[in-house]
């Protein structure tokens, strides 16, 4: 019996190949709408099939063994459809068929046994949380079945030898033999896929198929595919429309999350985080990603409107892991990683630096002939300078003694680790979970790190059938030492480039080399010394807890009350030793400071949920609730300088000789809200959601404390309609439309008030406190309102092997909380006012395909892309331009009506003036070798009127392509990230390229203008103290397009039968490379960048010396037992 087995295998293989080909090539294959005529008597099945093959062009596949069991066929049809013909031919045969494209597979029919006496069966289906309504109960091998009612009960007449199939989205399907019983209660277990099927929405959950809004979800597994210490980094690229930029290579990164664009100019555009129903006030980067069961991102207004004034930027709902009923589980997940600097930027080495200096000095006589003649530069002669440093920096031939690569010297190959230990378990009524995490993320710049210790305890108890309570306690301790938050010469990433190579890290006597050891240099300090001698530490201790109470008041009516409290203690000490910060080591340069912020937040939320199905077709879900929120911060700061000894660091501020003025602050806000939602569905076909929220917030003017935010959404599940129900191609089709109004209140506190602040003055040599009115006051200050329209479609093809989800949205923000310019004659520069309009349009497409799926090999692809267009429609009273931070050289971050927010504004560089253009250059007061700037209006001078738009910071599109392959126990994932259409403002070219002679420069200056190299846009070498040009130039604006190999993962899961011998239930090991490559034309460290993260909403892609990005290789293990 070898042959039939083999033929089965071949059949399976053929089938696989055919399905693959069909799926990959033939989404729109033409249908063979064929007519069949058969006249057969006592024919074999094979003969009939061959006849059909000839007539239709379809191919049959079958197992000879099955077919041989069939009896002879008598058939007489003319001009019928293929299906009719086959139905008739197989009517009395033990055979059935299925059509895949042009292939018809014939196989053995499952013949039901002869029916036996029917019995009336009833029972309750429940899960760990209680009765489960809507569960499908079906007799196996038939279409006969029912659904459980709202109490999880069902009634069905069944044959007494039947087997029942219980199925429900998100739960493992169960088959239970009736075996003559009349009552059959079933306990359903949530399937692994549960959370991708059931979606957490505001104040409740919904089945994904019932969603009317746009919600993106990621499971724990999805998040952990690319482990990071920061949740936001793990979220990157997982959901269309959610743009996560990791703007720094520092441990923990400096992430920025933008959901569906940028709907505000001055107001915070960070999304709202809600963890287990409680607003999270300590920032997305302080959530331990390993504690997360799922993340659901509410994107459109119909989903977010239930969060009212805080919904406009999208809402990220985090559901944390909890204990599960069943045998206790212990799992351990861990990884160790090694990183190195992914890219080094070419800078001048010692020989090049000195050559440029020589050339610059020689050029002085061209650029300052009078000063040269007067002998002003005699002491600047490099030969004279270097001669004076023989023995220290130069040998007797004036050759440099040192040639330091500061990028190498200041970075390292750090080893990081992350360990998670989880204990979960539960009984019928109680379940618990205990989660521990230790993470040590070491940065590539010396001494920078992020360490986290996290412990979480969860507990749920079904005290009474109608009462359930639960609680979570969470403690998070996070210590971070940064290396990139200094400014000016104290900025380590800047000094990686600008520290001159001729200075050693340390001299033979052990003292640090300093840039000022070489005359004419700026005072920025040796980056290795800074990394060692400056401690910028951020300590965070978060204690949060929440408890809930669930009461089943009536069947279908549930009350839930949640109380959450979060306290955050931020302790940020800073210490600079006397060895850095000045031209010589001196305790006068030492300083120490401590700043503290202690936050307390509480939220109490109560809501009622009512579920009811009327006449079996009308399903209603109503949520009504109320919520209070209260936040308070007290802060404190003290500083000193001139410490008597470096020993004291920041532990004894009293040891400083020049104490600073202590500071403290108080900040508080409160909110009080009511909300409601009605979900209605008719036969699972037509779905309607209406929500509303009334918010009262302390932040607004006395005239407008309360606002109302409604939304409505409608969805049509076309695939549930009769005409699509049995469609072979389309397995799921849903259209969604929504509209909603959301608000944004994140302007901070006290913005509507006429504040009087203190300032310091001096009388009689002593501090004198003054006060000033610092804001004009606006009693009408109200919410920013964003109206959003969303049209969405979900399409599942070929039994959902291809899933496409697409959403188009239009977001119009009006009554912008604009920090609108005021005439300064008022005494105030601006006022927060509801004025101005902004628009975001976008399209988001997600395509998930299961390209290959066999027992041994599978290949899945996931592709998402988001297109975005942002436009300013209106600004202040007179629509005048507004410039946002940062201001660097000039105001360049332009907000102008008609343009995308965050456009770059400056001069266009046409190149350099050539020798032949000396006369022309002279008109602009310039010489050949100077930069040639476009005189846009042709008025013969270059002034601010000649500035033009040089680019924009917002991309046109971005997305991710992930391919996952699995062969037996081996899995391979390749995750690509892409981004295009934006520019990057590379401000570093100001000091790294525009000028030479006071710091080190980029190697690009080797292409400077010379009489023989005139075709360049880099000015001739000359000391910056004699002459140089620097402005916001087009030469600082670079393309932000890139493709990144974000992660490549190779994993191996040990077979269960192997590991069960050592009492394990799961064991997986994997190796991963993160940030493996970046394809880009951008010349800086990484095109995903901003060094002004906190200064305004539109600082993405503006950089002045960023912390370089690492390339990381990690080894991980997941164990459960």
């Amino acid at each position: 019996m070898v042959w039939p087995q083999l033929s089965k295998i071949i059949l399976a293989m053929k089938l696989t190949v055919i399905i693959m080909v069909a799926v990959l090539t033939n989404v729109s294959a033409k249908t063979y709408s064929q007519v069949v005529t058969l006249h057969q008597k006592n024919a074999s099945v094979e003969k009939v099939l061959r006849s059909i093959e000839k007539q239709t062009g379809y191919h049959f596949m079958y197992d000879k063994q099955d077919v041989s069991k069939a009896s002879a066929i008598n058939i007489e049809v003319a001009g019928v459809s293929l299906e009719q013909a086959l139905d008739l031919a197989f009517k009395d045969q033990p055979l059935t068929y299925k059509i895949f494209q042009e292939t018809i597979v014939v196989k053995k029919k499952d013949v039901p046994e002869a029916t036996v006496a029917d019995i009336k069966l009833s029972g309750t289906v429940s899960d760990s949380k209680g009765p489960l309504p809507g569960v499908s109960v079906r007799i196996k091998g038939s279409d006969i079945g029912t659904q459980t009612d709202v109490n999880g009960k069902y009634n069905l007449t069944v044959p007494d030898n039947a087997t029942l199939v219980f199925s429900f989205v998100g739960y493992n399907t169960q088959e239970v033999a009736v075996a003559g019983k009349t009552v059959l209660n079933v306990m359903m277990a949530e399937s692994q896929k549960a959370l991708s099927e059931v979606v957490v929405v505001g104040y409740g959950t919904q089945k994904r198929v019932d969603l009317t809004g746009s919600v993106g979800s990621v499971s724990a597994k999805g998040l952990q595919e690319r482990p990071q210490t920061n949740l936001e980094q793990e979220l990157a690229g997982k959901i269309a429309g959610v743009n996560v930029s990791t703007n720094s290579g520092a441990p923990g990164g400096a992430t920025k999350v933008r959901i569906r664009g940028y709907s505000s100019i001055n107001t915070n555009t960070d999304p709202l985080y809600v963890v287990d129903g409680v607003v999270w006030t300590e920032g997305g980067n302080s959530i331990n990603p390993n504690d997360i069961e799922s993340v659901d991102v509410l994107k459109d207004a119909s989903s977010t409107a239930i969060y009212g004034t805080r919904g406009a930027n999208g809402v990220i709902l985090v559901t944390t892991k909890r204990g599960k009923k069943g045998e206790g589980t212990v799992s351990y997940d861990s990884y160790v990683s090694v990183s190195h600097m992914a890219k080094e930027i070419p800078v001048l080495n010692s020989a090049q630096f000195l050559a440029v200096e020589d050339q610059s000095y020689a050029n002085i006589k061209k650029y300052d002939p009078a000063g040269w003649a007067a002998g002003n530069y005699v002491d600047d002669d490099p030969v004279k300078i270097r001669t004076g440093l023989i023995g220290k920096l130069f040998d007797s031939n004036l050759k440099p003694l040192y040639d330091v690569d500061w990028q190498k010297a200041t970075t390292r190959t750090p080893v990081s680790q992350n360990h998670n230990l989880t204990f979960t378990g539960g009984t019928d009524k109680i379940n618990y979970g205990f989660f521990l995490n230790y993470a040590d993320d070491e940065g590539i710049i010396l001494n920078s790190y992020l360490k986290r210790y996290n412990a979480r305890l969860t507990f749920d108890n079904q005290i009474k059938p109608w009462l359930k309570v639960g609680a979570t306690l969470n403690y998070n301790a996070q210590d971070q030492r940064t290396a990139d938050d200094g400014t000016g010469g104290n900025n380590i990433p800047r000094m990686l480039i600008e520290m001159i190579p001729i200075i050693p890290i340390k001299y033979p006597d052990g003292s640090y080399g300093k840039r000022t050891d070489y005359p004419n240099m700026e005072g920025g300090d040796n980056p290795v010394a800074q990394a060692n001698e400056i401690q910028a530490i951020y300590r965070k201790r978060i204690f949060s807890g929440n408890g809930y109470l669930n009461v089943n008041i009536l069947p279908g009516l549930e009350f839930r009350s949640t109380l959450g409290v979060t306290t955050g203690a931020n302790y940020n000490p800073h210490f600079q030793s006397g060895l850095v910060g000045g031209a010589t080591a001196d305790q006068a340069n030492s300083s120490a400071s401590i700043s503290e912020a202690n936050n307390t937040f509480w939220q109490w939320e109560n809501h009622l949920t009512y579920n009811k199905t009327f006449n079996k077709v009308h399903t209603l879900n109503v949520v009504v609730g109320q919520e209070k929120q209260n936040f308070q911060q007290t802060g404190f700061g003290a500083s000193t300088s001139g410490l008597s000894d470096n020993y004291y660091q920041y532990y004894n501020l009293g040891a400083g000789s020049i104490p600073g003025i202590p500071s403290s602050n108080y900040d508080a806000w409160q909110m009080s809200s009511f909300f409601g939602r009605i979900n209605y569905n008719y036969k699972e076909k037509y779905l309607l959601t209406v929500t509303g929220r009334q918010d009262g917030s302390s932040r607004f003017g006395t005239n407008v404390k309360n606002g109302f935010f409604p939304s409505a959404a409608f969805a049509w599940r076309a695939s549930q309609e009769d005409f699509l129900k049995d469609n072979k191609t389309i397995s799921d089709l849903k259209f969604r439309a929504s509209y909603g109004l959301t608000g944004n209140s994140e302007i901070g506190e006290y913005r509507s008030l006429a504040n009087i602040s203190t300032v310091n003055y001096v009388f009689g040599g002593k501090q004198a406190i003054g006060t000033q009115q610092t804001s004009i006051g606006n009693d009408d200050l109200s919410w920013e309102k964003t109206a959003e329209y969303d049209l969405g479609v979900s399409l599942g093809l070929f039994n959902n092997r291809i899933n496409i989800e697409a959403d188009a949205y239009l977001k119009k923000t009006k009554a912008l909380l604009l920090n609108a310019p005021l005439p300064e004659t008022s005494g105030f520069t601006s006022v927060y006012k509801n004025i101005g309009r902004l628009q975001n349009k976008g399209l988001e497409i997600t395509i998930n395909t299961q390209n290959i799926k066999t027992a041994d090999f599978s290949w899945n692809s996931s592709f998402n892309i988001s297109f975005i267009k942002n436009k300013i429609l209106q600004l202040g009273e007179s629509n005048d331009d507004i410039f946002l931070a940062p201001t660097f050289l000039s105001q360049f971050n332009l907000m102008r009506v008609g343009l995308p927010a965050g456009s770059f504004y400056g001069y266009k560089v046409l190149g350099t003036w050539g020798t032949a253009e000396a006369t022309e250059a002279a008109k602009y007061g310039l010489l050949p070798g100077d930069l040639k700037i476009q005189d846009t209006n042709g008025d013969g001078k270059v002034s601010s009127d000649d500035k033009v738009i040089l680019g924009k910071s917002i991309p046109d599109g971005y997305g991710t392509l992930t391919n996952t392959f699995r062969y037996k126990n081996i899995d391979l994932g390749v995750d690509l990230q892409f981004n295009y259409g934006n520019q990057i403002m590379n401000l570093t070219r100001h000091s790294g390229q525009d000028r030479t002679g006071q710091a080190n420069s980029y190697a690009t200056v080797l292409n400077a203008w010379t009489p023989t190299n005139q075709n360049t846009s880099i000015a001739e070498d000359r000391p910056a103290f004699v002459r140089y040009q620097t402005e916001i130039y087009s030469t600082k604006v670079e393309s932000g397009n890139f493709i990144r190999g974000r992660a490549v993962t190779l994993g191996y899961t040990f077979p269960t039968n192997m590991i069960s011998k050592i009492k394990l239930s799961r064991l997986r090991v994997y190796a991963q490379a993160q940030n493996l490559f970046v394809i880009t034309k951008y010349t800086g460290y990484d095109p995903e960048v901003s060094t002004y993260n906190t200064s305004s909403n539109f600082t993405q892609n503006i950089q002045f010396y960023d912390y370089p990005k690492p390339r990381t290789f990690l080894l991980g293990v997941n164990v459960s037992f």
């Binding site: 009350f559 917030s697 008030l753 003055y761 002034s943």
Partner: protein, 500 residues
């Protein structure tokens, strides 16, 4: 179904609780325990004093600036044409070469901060009279300081920008003054004079050594206002006499220092000849004058970066008589200094930097400890106002000679005598340039006299046709600064000054 009484009791209890919580309209009023708001301020004398101190704080605006040397006290000096700027500032170089425009942030800095000070003065003057618990004398004197400061800032505005909006009451979002038009300079000067007269009558002390406004400061400033209004563009020549009379009492209330060092050390702040200064103190507020005025990146003192943002031209330095003490090393200027890193080495600057602003106290500690005061008014200015005003009224007088010769004697220069009215005027102007050099006086002198100092010939020439020692001839538009472009964009009622 069994009816569970207990269940209903609990749930109805909860329902009631929800309704209670929901309906209890807990106030959404913002509480800020760290700062006042206007509605709960001005309840006692202490608050009034603090608010007026807040106006003083705006005096810092002239020293505010950045690491490029774009600081108003430098910008004002660059307009006079005797200063080079070796720093990295594109804007400074544009000013020097008469290529700047209305978007130069320096123009907005002065405008914005001055109006902010005026706004706070308006609030103080409107609110202080309403404070019931404050003594009348105290009210009067406190308001006197506010009047002086309002006049002080308007005086800067009207000279720098010409016709400027005159606002004398607090502005709110609903007030008509939110979008004001420009007021004729003459009316602005009337307000300045009236404010200074109110200050003069408010019972302030003759002198003050703590840094507060004194009667001497009021009189010197009013004298300067009268002198200015007697010149271009108002040409109210009758004000010369008022100027002389105004400053006369000052001449005896203050005394010249023996040493120029005292002008920039910590021990003599607000004393001797110093009439009005902005106040600095290590640990409270420091300034960057030494860093800004030292030559570029030479290790003179521990100032880290040395910016060379305000360096006198050689031409101006050479215009001093060789015998002039002020020209000698480490009097007003210096050209070499021991290297901070290695004091055995001497650094030769190649230029003459301003020793006038060198701060010995901080040379070893650096910027964080630089706290010399910035001088707005000092006795030699009052003396020279007196000389110039009396000369215009009655020609050279003995009293006038006496005053100018005190200044010259201190500089080891021979006394003047027997000059014609014109020659005496020129001598006074020259003395103003040399004595008050780089103290933000020269540009205002050019405005009111329409003459600039020709350093090579030691004479005066027409301001818009005489090239300065940097080869730049001042454009007529440079008699005024432009109205900041931002203000024109924001307020359609404003017009731009001619030429800008």
């Amino acid at each position: 179904m069994k009816f569970n009484l207990k269940k209903y009791r609990i749930s109805s209890m909860l329902l009631i609780l929800v309704i209670l919580v929901g309906s209890c309209k807990k106030d959404l009023v913002e509480k800020n325990k760290g700062n006042f708001v206007k509605s709960n301020y001005f309840t006692n004398a202490g608050q009034a004093h603090a608010f007026v101190t807040g106006i003083y704080q705006k005096l810092y605006l002239f020293l505010n600036g950045d690491a490029y040397g774009e600081s108003p006290f430098i910008t004002i000096e660059l307009f006079a044409g005797h200063t080079t700027s070796l720093g990295q500032s594109v804007n400074n170089n544009n000013v020097i070469n008469n290529r700047t425009d209305a978007v130069n942030p320096g123009f907005e800095d002065v405008w914005s901060n001055s109006y902010n000070a005026i706004s706070n003065a308006n609030i103080a003057l409107a609110e202080i009279p309403k404070i019931g618990s404050m003594a009348d004398d105290d009210k009067k004197a406190t308001m006197g300081e506010a009047y002086f400061l309002r006049a002080f800032f308007y005086y800067h505005l009207v000279r720098l920008y010409g016709d400027v909006p005159l606002i004398v009451t607090p502005v709110t979002l609903n007030s008509p003054d939110l979008y004001p038009a420009r007021t004729a300079a003459a009316a602005v000067y009337d307000q300045i004079i009236s404010d200074l007269k109110a200050a003069e009558a408010s019972g302030l002390p003759e002198t003050d050594q703590t840094g507060k406004v004194s009667l001497g400061a009021v009189r010197t400033l009013l004298g300067s206002v009268y002198l200015t209004t007697a010149g271009f563009p108002l040409k109210k020549t009758e004000n010369y006499a008022l100027a002389a009379a105004e400053v006369l009492p000052v001449l005896s209330d203050y005394t010249l220092f023996d040493k120029y060092d005292y002008l920039h050390d910590n021990a003599h702040k607000n004393q001797g000849e110093l009439i009005f200064q902005s106040q600095y103190k290590v640990g409270v507020v420091t300034n960057a004058i030494p860093q800004l005025t030292l030559p570029f990146n030479l290790q003179v003192g521990a100032y880290g970066d040395h910016l060379g943002a305000m360096i006198p031209t050689n031409g101006f330095f050479n215009s001093y008589d060789n015998a002039d003490l002020r020209k000698q090393e480490r009097q007003f200027y210096f050209s070499s200094y021991p290297n901070h890193n290695d004091p055995t080495q001497t650094i030769n600057f190649g230029v003459h930097a301003l020793y006038k602003y060198f701060h010995k106290e901080s040379e070893n500690i650096g910027n964080s400890a630089a706290d010399e005061n910035w001088t707005f008014l000092r006795l030699p200015e009052a003396m020279l106002i007196y000389c110039e005003a009396t000369n215009e009224v009655s020609g050279p007088t003995a009293a006038a000679y006496a005053q100018i010769n005190k200044i010259r004697a201190r500089a080891l220069l021979p006394p003047l005598s027997g000059l014609s009215k014109d020659d005496f005027r020129t001598a006074i102007w020259r003395e103003r340039y040399h004595e008050l050099a780089y103290e933000n006086k020269a540009y205002f002198d050019i405005q009111r006299t329409h003459m600039i100092y020709k350093v090579g010939t030691d004479t005066f020439g027409d301001a818009t046709s005489t090239p300065n020692e940097q080869g730049v001839t001042m454009k007529a538009q440079y008699y005024l600064w432009p109205i900041p472009q931002r203000e024109i964009s924001t307020n359609s009622k404003l017009t731009q000054n001619t030429g800008w």
